[in-house]
Symmetry: C2
Subunit: 278 residues, 2 copies
């Protein structure tokens, strides 16, 4: 999916919601455990209940991969039913040397080889340029590079500061910016520190930011919008637990929809406030 | 595998060789392409030809993953035949927030869930402590954390330097050291800069180092040993292309063995020189 189509979807759906699919057998409704593929069965109902309310889905690859080949088959089936008008993100945090990163790119971007056809993949930048650029060789595909994350450990290295007062995550954005463009690069920025977006926007005024941490992790949507939204939106805000685990009964899809509607309405108000939609 | 057993294997085999399994359908002998699972068929012959000469194997997960579920099944079968007396490393470069890293740990360390039973996994440290520690909760399993890699892009961020002159990779080693011990943590240090090991050994005198980049990538084994070997060896030196692609004919396994013998003999001489074996 290219940037123009993504912007169009945001306006049409009045939403910049990304629904995370961290599908956990310990948390999904027990009646689904009788299905042949409970993970796929759960995802299918969640997708059907939310696809008109969100513009992106983000399967967390670890939750599939922990079941080995069987989990990867659940991932393939899930990817196959993700609507074409949504931005499909593989949350995989890959990153290796050039020829190996090319293989990871094939894994997530080349359905003829792997069976998977994602629009984007999350990337860890530690290994540098040749670990990111192989993902940018695919037309209309995106690398979403970790910048400032919202987990406890983010402080360990992301705030490492050089003699000029520049922090590692700022150096990452500044360098990664030169490897691609706002048409194929996004950054992961955690929502738990609203004002941090001011600083991020200094380095990446025009890039889309993928923002986890709203809702269950404590971040506030209005803070993120106040400090992080740009003139064309520039945000994909992820919510996982608050939506997909809104209920663990037979009504889980219905309750997920109710939660997604709440978030979509908040997002609509933010888009109107910014003058992006009327 | 615990450290005592690894040290024992090094002495018994007079080797600290790790054989990388970056099995590429474009590079393996064409007669294997007729097999039902060419990747597994290739790995099986390479393993049989080298298992008495090396102490570790390192499948590169990207080369399996690019084939989706089918590739993960080749990985499972490969993992299953890796000899129990070798140190089995999943070269996966994973790293995510705590509860997701726990899933990745299950994927590679819990055969009951995933079918895979590796001894160690390579980890990218960008997300900090909670992205590493879930791998340390498994008895006799190891996290091998990226410190100073040998690829072109390693310079982008790993040499980022703070006001005291400390580089990011040094900060990584210093902090990661406190999260585990020499019994469950190793570091990846590229071989292309022999003297860099002096500096690494200041921060990690007693840890094992996993060293890629010897051979095809240009690093010298004698330099690595001169600057990086400690009193109990402390090195696992990886070779991939020079061994597994020594020939692309029907004699590929035999030629791989010949190359592995050459490396093992060099290693034996280094172990004698250091007084580790006699």
């Amino acid at each position: 999916m290219n940037k123009a189509t993504l912007l169009q979807e945001i306006k049409a759906k009045k939403s910049f919601l990304c629904v995370g699919l961290d599908t956990d057998l310990d948390k999904i409704p027990t009646h689904l455990l009788e299905e042949e593929d409970p993970i796929f069965a759960f995802n299918k109902e969640i997708i059907a209940a939310t696809e008109d309310l969100c513009v992106a889905y983000k399967p967390n690859i670890a939750f599939f991969e922990c079941y080995g080949a069987k989990g990867w088959e659940s991932l393939r089936k899930t990817c196959e039913i993700l609507p074409q008008n949504t931005f499909r993100i593989a949350d995989a945090k890959r990153g290796d040397i050039g020829n190996t990163s090319s293989r990871y790119a094939e894994a997530f971007f080349n359905p003829k080889i792997s069976g998977l056809d994602f629009d984007a993949i999350t990337i860890a930048p530690y290994m540098g340029e040749d670990s990111v650029t192989p993902f940018l060789d695919f037309k209309d595909k995106w690398a979403i590079v970790l910048a400032l994350t919202s987990n406890a450990g983010s402080k360990n290295f992301q705030n490492f500061t050089n003699a000029d007062g520049k922090q590692l995550f700022e150096e990452v954005i500044e360098q990664v910016n030169t490897w691609g463009s706002t048409d194929n690069l996004m950054y992961v920025v955690g929502a738990t520190r609203g004002e941090a977006f001011l600083n991020i926007r200094k380095y990446a005024p025009n890039h889309f930011l993928l923002v986890p941490g709203v809702g269950a992790q404590g971040g506030s949507l209005s803070d993120v919008c106040q400090y992080g939204m740009n003139d064309e939106c520039g945000l994909l805000v992820n919510s996982t637990r608050a939506i997909i685990y809104a209920s663990n009964g037979k009504d889980f899809a219905e309750k997920a929809r109710e939660e997604a509607i709440k978030v979509q309405r908040e997002m609509e108000a933010e888009l109107i406030k910014k003058g992006i939609i009327s």
